[in-house]
């Protein structure tokens, strides 16, 4: 057991963590980055289709600007997003994309002259003007008014991650891979680092740091095999924050299901396929999205498309297979050349995992867990509620740009935009902080982790397996906390998850070899993962409305009178249960209205926007929001969206 000090401790080596680390390293601070895997193996590399930024460089992107990106993002979120954060994000995204170009990302570029695209089922030829030759081009993605996704074939996340990691190497940032954090070190509402466990040797280290950043990605693996996520996306950051007892998680019931997970492996097939003109077909070969969403068709937001797909399956229009019902993603009309260049990774995945040639055969797909909108609740500076010196960034965080549904291409953008914005704040704060914590505190947290490990090692094996608990939790979530939810099923899910948590007491380790024991590693994580699952289910049960990805068949109305708020979940140690409270979503500028797709019933706010905005800052502070460098609302561009809304901003139908 060792104690080390560093200025900034970043936990998580994906894009958000690395981009954040670069800000501090550039400012001359000592940065240590801990990662479960070598950074280039982080899940950021799995982002395929694109990164949203309103550069407006190709014909179908003409007239685009950050304000329209803001509009699309807030509508996509079903008004659950913090609109000030969405404003910051949309305006910083173009700078972030260009910075990545400067660092070497081979963005696909505008090819002047005739370009063939597929738009709403039609083959269209568009002349890209000579004056735009060589600029970063865009492809279409769901829920956007303009083509906005910047991309590098279908390996965008990979290309961006390698460029950013190249900067990390160039700057000589200390990266320790195969290391996991086991607990945060904190005292009196102030975070001072974390305890880590080496996944090569099992050695424990206490890292004392002036600032600690959680950049651990999402927690899709609570859905077990029913997710597109990598095996490492187990919600480590959310669990670390929750275990402090001080920091809430935001909107954990907001879970994104991606429409096109490959059957049976669950591997992601990018939205870029539909952006480039791919069709969704039912068993009769019919394009059902054209009937369901005449305007956006296959390119409505992900929550909406996933619901229509599950609806087809429920109506008996799915394709039967040994692996359950699925639908088809048809790319045959795009042609082999397009598939082998602009969607090359999709080509590879179809060949490798299904032995399938997408230029000749349709691809079997179904909706599957993909993204965690929820996470560690932070203010606009990225600082956690209730815990000074602790920051969270990227998918691990609830910043909250995505509200109840994230638009495709906005998460890759968030990693680098939030990494820049929050990274700058981290660097400023760290430079103004001195490390004033006793090593006794570090020793106490070190001892705590050592004790947890010893307890696991000493437990008698009574037949219960950690993997069985993990699989049980995944089955419960997949069956009862999925695309469509009902109160009855959620009640059962909550009870079953409580039982699964009790089952952990019966789990014993079958192996206890020296060094790193993979079973021990899984056991150390299981309690936290079940807690995240319980919070997700309870949040979904209590939220008696439908908003974005949270679709309650027994409460189909989006209820802005009662539920225009964000769920905050804390874990009470004494009750061993989650405690939910609700805070305003933030300041409102774009009033709640119709999204332009996925029509649902809506119940309007009963207060005025002004009244809502007056009480929001005070209530958020009461819920734990720490003061920000600039006051709340300072970055809002009030009314800037006016004149850009091409869809009615008011509800079309009231309840």
């Amino acid at each position: 057991m060792r104690i080390e000090t560093t200025d900034v401790l970043v936990i998580g080596g994906g894009l958000a963590g690395e981009r954040c680390a670069i800000e501090s390293a550039t400012a001359g601070l000592d940065v240590t980055l801990l990662s479960l895997v070598p950074p280039r193996r982080s899940h950021s590399c799995a982002a395929q289709g694109g990164m949203q930024a309103a550069l407006g460089n190709c014909v179908k992107a003409e007239g685009d600007e950050p304000t329209i990106h803001f509009l699309d993002t807030v509508r996509g979120s079903d008004w659950g997003a913090d609109q000030e954060v969405a404003t910051i994000f949309a305006h910083e995204a173009p700078v972030a994309v260009r910075e990545l170009a400067h660092w070497g990302v081979p963005w696909t570029r505008v090819r002047p002259g005739k370009n063939t695209y597929f738009i709403k089922g039609e083959k269209v030829e568009i002349d890209e003007p000579e004056e735009n030759a060589g600029l970063i081009t865009h492809r279409d993605f769901g829920g956007t008014a303009k083509w906005r996704a910047c991309y590098a074939s279908a390996g965008t996340g990979h290309a961006v991650l390698y460029a950013v990691d190249g900067e990390v190497v160039r700057l000589g940032i200390r990266v320790l891979d195969r290391v996991e954090a086991t607990t945060l070190i904190h005292e009196g509402g102030r975070c001072w680092g974390a305890v880590s466990r080496c996944l090569r040797t099992g050695e424990l280290t206490a890292w004392l740091a002036k600032s600690t950043v959680l950049a651990t990605g999402g927690h899709g693996r609570i859905y077990g095999q029913y997710t597109t996520n990598a095996t490492i996306n187990e919600g480590a950051g959310a669990v670390l924050a929750l275990e402090t007892g001080e920091v809430p998680l935001g909107n954990m019931e907001a879970v994104q299901f991606h429409p096109t997970g490959l059957v049976p492996s669950g591997i992601l097939v990018t939205e870029g396929c539909r952006g480039d003109g791919g069709f969704l077909l039912n068993k009769d070969g019919h394009r059902f999205m054209v009937d369901a969403e005449p305007e956006k068709q296959e390119l409505a937001s992900r929550d909406v498309v996933s619901r229509h797909m599950m609806d087809q399956i429920k109506r008996g229009l799915g394709v039967s297979s040994d692996f359950g019902e699925h639908l088809w993603l048809d790319l045959r009309h795009l042609g082999e050349e397009h598939l082998r260049t602009k969607l090359r990774e999709v080509w590879d995945i179809c060949r490798d995992f299904n032995g399938l040639d997408p230029s000749r055969e349709p691809i079997p797909v179904r909706p599957i867990q993909h993204y965690s909108m929820g996470g560690v609740r932070v203010n606009k500076d990225g600082e956690a509620y209730g815990m000074r010196g602790l920051f969270a960034v990227g998918e691990a965080a609830c910043w909250d740009l995505h509200g109840f549904n994230r638009l495709g291409g906005n998460s890759l953008a968030e990693t680098v935009v939030a990494g820049r914005v929050i990274g700058a704040r981290v660097a400023e704060r760290t430079a103004a902080t001195s490390l004033s914590v006793s090593t006794d505190v570090a020793q106490a947290f070190l001892a705590d982790t050592a004790k947890r490990i010893a307890l696991w090692r000493d437990r008698p094996s009574t037949g219960g397996s950690v993997y069985a608990v993990r699989d049980r939790v995944a089955e419960i979530l997949n069956e009862k906390v999925g695309v469509f939810r009902t109160g009855d099923e959620l009640e059962v899910a909550v009870a079953e998850l409580e039982a699964a948590q009790r089952d952990i007491a019966r789990v014993g380790l079958r192996s206890s070899g020296p060094g790193v024991d993979p079973e021990l590693t899984a056991a150390m994580r299981i309690e936290g993962m079940v807690r995240l699952a319980r919070i997700t289910a309870v949040g979904a049960l209590d939220r008696t409305e439908s908003r974005g990805a949270h679709a309650r068949t027994d409460h189909p109305t989006r209820d802005d009178a009662r539920w225009l708020n964000r769920t905050l979940a804390r874990w009470d140690a004494e009750r061993d249960a989650p405690r939910l409270t609700y805070e305003p979503v933030g300041l409102l500028d774009l009033p709640p209205g119709d999204r332009g797709y996925g029509k649902t019933l809506q119940k309007s706010m009963e207060t005025s926007i002004d009244a809502y905005n007056q009480r929001a800052p005070g209530e958020m502070a009461e819920h734990g929001a720490l003061p920000t460098d600039e006051p709340m609302g300072a970055r809002m561009l009030w009314g800037a969206w006016k004149g850009h809304e091409d869809r009615p901003a008011r509800p079309e139908r009231n309840e």
């Binding site: 799995a46 700078v95 195969r178 990598a230 039967s320």
Partner: protein, 253 residues
């Protein structure tokens, strides 16, 4: 359209011969251990190894992350040949499957090797980043690039650093400082990039010795085993041409 591809036959009994050694355990000796499993449709080595660990031996060490052949974690020797485990379907293999860790890299345990340290070292050795020509201007338009050139750079950028080419390289197996095909590919990728400030002379310093482009003895095992089918032969030829050109210029002056 049907799902005829899914065969429901009597499953094969697969026999896995897996290399075992835990360097952290003084009592551990390198050996092979045999496990058996019933094959299931679409079974990959990712699925098989996890089943073995969860059902038969919880101490078995191996690495997976994305399980979709993009993160590069799971390179190993499958019947003696370096490849990714996650996209290897058991239906393409015989009844007996021999699994061993990649050579060259430091063994962590069983099938798990330390590729992270090796690749970070390589990145530092070759300078695998853009050397900027001028500082970034946040509010300037991006530098333009021809669409075909961007595509060509992307082609080299596709390397996932899985280490298969290094494990399959006759030189890398004897010279620990040789940057291997992954290193040479990365150099070619930056050499092609007009955003990079380094000229041929700078690159000559980096690669023109036995640890770089002139270390390769042309066995091209790398090209045969690359799971991403990178054009390693072309990249290598491009590098040699550029470096020989640079050497000639140097001799002429």
């Amino acid at each position: 359209m049907s799902t005829d591809t899914i065969q429901l036959e009597t499953p094969r009994r697969l026999r896995f011969e897996i290399f075992r050694f835990n360097p952290e355990d003084p009592a551990s000796e390198p050996h092979h251990q045999t496990f058996e499993l019933d094959e299931q449709p679409f079974m990959t080595l990712y699925i098989a190894l996890n089943r073995i660990r969860e059902e038969q031996d919880p101490s078995l060490q191996f690495d997976f992350a994305c399980r979709s052949a993009i993160c590069g974690s799971c390179g190993m020797l499958v019947n003696g040949r370096p490849r990714l485990a996650c996209n290897t379907l058991t239906r393409d293999l015989g009844d007996t499957i021999r699994l061993e860790p990649l050579p060259v890299f430091k063994l962590i345990g069983d099938l798990s090797v330390d590729t992270g340290t090796w690749f970070r070292g390589m990145a530092e050795q070759v300078g695998a980043w853009i050397e900027e020509k001028a500082p970034f201007e946040p509010h300037a338009e991006e530098e333009r690039m021809d669409a075909d050139l961007a595509q060509a750079i992307y082609e080299g950028e596709r390397c996932i650093e899985c280490g298969c080419c290094i494990a399959g390289c006759g030189v890398a197996n004897v010279n620990p400082d040789f940057v291997g095909a992954a290193g040479l590919n990365r150099i070619a990728r930056f050499m092609r990039d007009p955003r990079d400030a380094r000229g041929d002379e700078d690159w000559f310093e980096v690669v023109s010795d036995e640890n770089g482009v002139f270390g390769c003895i042309g066995l091209m095992g790398c090209h045969d085993v690359c799971p991403k089918e990178l054009p390693l032969l072309e990249q290598y030829a491009y590098l040699r041409r550029r470096m020989l050109g640079a050497a000639r210029e140097e001799t002429a002056t």
